[in-house]
Assembly symmetry: D3
Homo-oligomer: 246 residues x 6
C-alpha cells in the first residue's frame, strides 16, 4: 500500500484559497495534502528591456521555498547569495507553462510576475505551483478587466501540473515526499483542460523505463489534472462571486 | 483620527497561531492586523564554528519578506543575490532579542535558528517577528523537553517587540504602514514581561525629538507589550494543551 | 523543405573525435553538423562531502558555451559572475543521464566530472553533450581499467540524446538552430541502446501538442539515437585500437 | 577603576584634524583616544535615480574598517565580496543622522557621500564616524558656498554621536574596546547641539536594564556630546580661518 | 637539455588556423606546441558607456581556460562565480597589446571584443593568446572592409607575444609548462614587427636577475616573434585567398 | 617643465612613518609627495591550506584604495561586491615582490599579510605600497625576533618600487598623477638594494618604445630606488631605536 494509504490513481485533497496576499492583483494559497504554495501575481505596466516595442505582454514566475518548508532546514537562498539550479529550473518551467495559455498579443505591453513560495513542502511543489499560479494569474487578469485596463481576460485555456511516478507498487498519481524519494522514475506533466500537452519532464531515477510505462503515467496525469481543472474553476468562481457581492 | 480609526494607545488585533509549519520543532503564524509573519524554529545539534567548545547554546534568526508582501512588488533577495542592509539589521535584532532571555548555559551546545518570513506586510514586521519568534522558540524548547533532550525550558523570561511613533496626532502605539511612512519619529521597543529593556531603536525621521517624547513612547510600548505577553502565553498554553490531549 | 534540405527523419552528419584534450582521462570533440562540443572527463580519487562513506562513486557534469559559439556574442558567464538557469538546467540533465547507466557501487568511492564546452552552437547542444559525454566517460573508465584502478568498466549501457520537434513540416529529427527557433514544440530524448527511456523533456513553444505527436517524436528519437549509439561504439573502438597499437 | 583610569563621566581626548584627504570637498581625521576615523565628503551634481525630480538633495554615508584596524586582522570586505550586516547597519545610521540636520530643500538636487573609514579601532567607531562626518559635511558645504554653488550652508544644526554603557562600575561614558566587550548594556546616542534626540540604539548585552538606567546613560551622553559639539565648532573655525588667510 | 629537446633559442611549432568559430567576424585556433587557444573577434556597433561620443573605437579582450585544459582539473570560473586575479590580469594585457596597434580614430565608434579561450594549456597561454588575437582582430577588420563598413583596415602594425625565461640551462625561448614551473625568472614580451616594445612583464620567481640577463631574454624574444609575425601574415593571406577564391 | 617643477631625475619627497597602526605587528605610513599609503603587516601562526606541511612561510599582500583617495570619488569595492582587476593585479605584484627577498624556509610555517591601503593617491601608489610594505614586513619580523618566535629576521635583502615614464619631456622619474595620465609609456621597476631586478612592468600607452628608452628608464629607476633604500633603512633604525629606548 502507498505510505498515505491512497489508491494508485488517487490524488491528494486539493484546496485553492484565493486572496491570501492582501496586496497582490491576484493570489491563492494552494494546498495538495501537506504541500502548501502561496502564489501571488503582480502586475507591472511595462515589459522587460528585451521585449520592448513588440506589442506583446510578458508573463514570468519566480519560485522559492521557505527554509523550514522541508523536513530538515535548508539554507536560505538569499543568505547564500544565489538561487540553486533546481530553483531556477522550476521557475523557468512555471513561466513557460503559464505563457502557453496566454494570448500575449491581446495582453498588450505589460508584465505579470507570479511569485510561488512554498510554505510547506511534501512533494509535488512545482506542480502545485503551476496549478495555483494559473489561478493567481487569472484573478489578476480579472482585476485588470474590472479596472478596465483590458476588455477581456487574455487566456486561451487552463493549465495545471501533476506528478506521477513508478514505485514498487507500479505507476502512482500525485507522489508525496515519502514516495517521491523512493520512486524508480518521476514524471511531471503540464496539461491543458482540453488534453493538450504543454510540458513533460520524465526522469528515470534508478533504471530506464519503457514507453508503455510512460503511457500509463500519462493516463494517471490526465485523471489527476481533471480534478485540478475543476478546483481551479471553482476557486475563480468563488473569488469573483465574492467580489461581485460586495 | 488615526487612518485605522484606533485610539492612540490601541494596539491592532493580535493572533498567534501555532503549528503553521509542519516540519519545524516550533512555529507560529503571528498576525498584527494585516501584518502576518511566519516564525519557524529549527533545532540543530551543533553550534557554529566560532561557538564550539564553550558549552553554550546558540540562538539566531533569519528574516525575509515575500516579494509581494508589500504594496508594490519588491525584488526577491535570492534573485538579487544578496540580502539588503535592512534585512540584515532586522535579523540581527531578532537574534539579539531572543538571546537576551535564553539561558545559553542551561541550553548546552546546540543551535536554534528562527526563520521569520513576512507573508503580508502592513508596518511593524520586525516587532511582530520578535514577538512571534519568541513563541516559536518556546515551542521548540518544549518539544526538546518532551523528547527529553533537555530537562527544562532554558528561558529566563518573555520578550516582545512593539513599534511606537510620533505623528501629527502625537504619540501613537503600533503603527501600521500608512502611519509609519508619515511619522516624525519611529521607535521600536523590545521589552521583557518584567519590564526590562532589551533593545530600543528610536529614530527621528524628520525633526529631532525630546526626552519627554521618548518617555511617552515608552509608556505606550509598555502598554502594548502587556497585551502581547498575554497573547504569547495563551498561544503556548493552547499548543501544549493540544499536544497533551493527543 | 527543411532549411538544411534534410529529410524529416534525417540526422546531421555526426563525428566523434577522441583525445582532443591532452590532459583529460577521457575526451572527445563531438560534431553534429555545425554544433561542436568538447567533452572532457576528469577523475578524482574522492567523492563530494555529501556522498562520503557510502561506498558509491559519483559522476557529474558541467556545461559551458564559449561567448562566440553563437550567432551574436553572449556574455561570458565567468565575467557575469554566475551561471544562467539554462546552463544549470543542462548540466544537471547531463549528469543525471550519465548516472543512469553507471554502476556506482562497482565504481567505488571516486568521482568523475565531465566538462562539456560548446565551441560552436547550431542547435541541439545539450543532446550532443550527452552523447559525447558518455564516450568521454567510457574512455576515462577504460583508462582506469588500463591503470588497474578498477577491474572492469562500470557501465550498464550506452546513453545518447537527440532533439526532435514539431515544425510547419510536421515532426522532424535533430533540429538545427534555424529550425529550433521556429519550432511549435521541442522535445529532448535521452535513451539507452536497449530502448529504455532515461529522460524526456518535451515543451510546447507555441501551442500544446497531442499524445499522438509525442509518439511520432519518440519514433524519430529512436531512429536518431540508433545512429548515435553506433558512432559512440566506433569512436571507442577506434580510440582503444590506437592505444593498443602503441 | 575603568581600564583607562578615566572617571565614569570622562570622555577620551578628542581631536578633529581637517583636510586629511587632499581631494575631498571636506574631510577630517577624527581621533577619540586610539579610535581614528577618516571622514571624507564627496559632492556629486546629481541625486540617485529614486530621488530625481523632487528638488531635494541627498546625503548618504559609507563605512569601512581597514583589515588591521582591529586587534586581530579582519577579512577585507572587498575580498570577501560583501559588506557585513554590521557595516551596513552602521552606514545606514550615519546617513540618517546627517540627514536629520540637513535642509534638503535648500540643498537642491545634488548628492554628498561621506566615506567614514576606520584607520584604528578602539571602541566607539560608529559614534566617532558620525561626529567626524558632520564636520566633513559642513566643510564640503562651506566649499560649495565658497564656489557660489549655494548661497548658505544648508544645515539646521550640529549632530554628534557618543556611546555609553553599563559596566561593573555602573554607567560610564565613551567606552573603549576593553570596556565595550564586557559591558552589560551598550547605548549609542545621536544628539543635536540643542538637545534633540536623533537616534538611540540601546542594547542589553547580558541582562535587560531599567528605564532609570536609560536616563542615567542619556545624562552621560548629553555631557559627552557637549564636548564634541565644541570640538566640531573649533575644527570648522580653524579650517575656515586657514582658508581665509590664504 | 631542455625537457622538449629544443635548442635554447628554438620556438615550438606554431600553427594558426583561421575560421574555427563559424559565427565570429574573425577567428583562429592558434597552436604553439600543445598550447591551443581559440581566439574569436566579435564586432558590436557601439562602444561602452565610458567611451561614448569621443569618436574613437574600442578593442578589448576576454580570457578563459577550459577546466581541463590543465594537468589537473581547475574549478570552472563561471561556477565559482568570479574570475581569478590571474584571468583578469591576462585579459587586461591582451586588450592593451591589441590597442597599441589599432588606429582607434580611423576605426570610428564601434567595439571589437576578442575572446581567447584556452582549449589545451602547456605554458605560454597569454602570449599565444596575444599572437592569435591579433590575427582574429585583423580578419574581423577585413570582414568589415569587405562589408564596406570601413574603407581600410585600421591597424598600424602587427603585435605578438612570446615568453622567455631563465632556467638551469640559462636563457631559453618559449617555455613550455615543464620549464616554466622550474624557471628562475619568467618574462613575457609583447613586441611589434618593427621592433617596438609594447609590453614587458618580467618576474623573478626565485632570485633577482641582472640587466644583462634581461637583454639576453629580449634578444630571444626578438628572435621568437620574428617567426610569429611570419605565421600571422601567412594565416591572413591564406584566409583572404580562400575568401577571394569563393 | 614637469608639472611639479621637478628635474627629470628627481624623486618626490619621501617619508616613512612607522607605527601608524596601533595593532599591527609592523606598520608604516609611507608618503611620496601627495601619495600616501598605510602598510600594516599582520602575523598569523599558520599558512593557507595549499601551503601546509611544506615547512615554508607565506607572505602575501592585499591592496585597497579609499573611495575618495582620488580626484573624483570611486565606487567602494566592498559595496560593489568585488575587487577590480587592477586591484588584484597590484596586490599580486606586491606579494611577489616581498616574497622575492624572504627566506621562507628560515621563516617556518607561518603567514604574514601586508595590507596596503591608499589614503591619498597622486600616482605611483603600487610602487609606494611595495616600498612601504617591505618596511612593515621588516618591522613585523623584528617584533617576532623580539618575542623570540624566530632567531633572526629572515630577509635576504631590501626591495623597493619606483615608476618611470616617457613623457613629452623624455624619460622622467617618479611620475605623479598629472604626468602619468599623459605619459607615452609607463614602467614600474621593483629592484633590490644590490641592483637585482625583481619585476619590470613596462607598458606603451600610446606608441611602442625602443630598447634604448627602456635602458634610460631603468637608469632612472636605479637612481630613485637608491633614495628609497636609504629611507627604508632610516625608518627601521628609527623604529628600533625607539623600541630599545623604552
Amino acid at each position: 500500500m502507498r505510505p498515505s494509504g491512497r489508491a494508485p490513481d488517487a490524488i491528494r485533497s486539493v484546496s485553492i484559497e484565493p486572496g491570501f496576499s492582501y496586496h497582490a492583483e491576484g493570489s491563492v494559497l494552494i494546498r495538495m495534502g501537506r504541500t502548501e504554495v502561496l502564489c501571488a501575481a503582480s502586475v507591472e505596466s511595462r515589459v522587460p528591456p528585451f521585449m520592448r516595442g513588440q506589442g506583446l505582454g510578458w508573463v514570468t514566475a519566480e519560485y522559492g521555498m521557505l527554509p523550514r518548508a522541508t523536513h530538515s532546514r535548508g539554507e536560505r537562498e538569499a543568505a547564500r547569495g544565489k538561487q540553486s539550479g533546481r530553483t531556477q529550473e522550476i521557475q523557468r518551467l512555471i513561466g513557460r507553462s503559464l505563457r502557453a495559455v496566454v494570448d500575449r498579443k491581446a495582453m498588450g505591453e505589460m508584465s505579470i510576475t507570479v511569485d510561488c513560495d512554498v510554505l510547506n513542502a511534501d512533494g509535488g511543489t512545482r506542480c502545485a505551483a503551476i496549478t495555483g499560479a494559473w489561478v493567481a494569474l487569472s484573478l489578476a487578469f480579472n482585476t485588470l478587466v474590472a479596472k478596465r485596463v483590458m476588455a477581456t481576460v487574455p487566456l486561451t485555456g487552463q493549465v495545471a501540473g501533476i506528478s506521477c511516478g513508478l514505485t514498487d507498487l507500479g505507476a502512482v498519481l500525485d507522489l508525496d515526499y515519502a514516495e517521491d524519494r523512493n520512486a524508480h522514475a518521476d514524471a511531471n506533466f503540464v496539461l491543458t483542460e482540453t488534453g493538450g500537452i504543454v510540458e513533460i519532464q520524465a526522469t528515470a531515477e534508478q533504471a530506464p523505463f519503457s514507453e508503455a510505462q510512460l503511457h500509463e503515467l500519462m493516463r494517471l496525469a490526465r485523471l489527476g489534472t481533471g480534478t485540478l481543472f475543476e478546483a481551479q474553476r471553482a476557486a475563480i468562481s468563488g473569488a469573483l462571486a465574492k467580489v461581485a457581492s460586495r
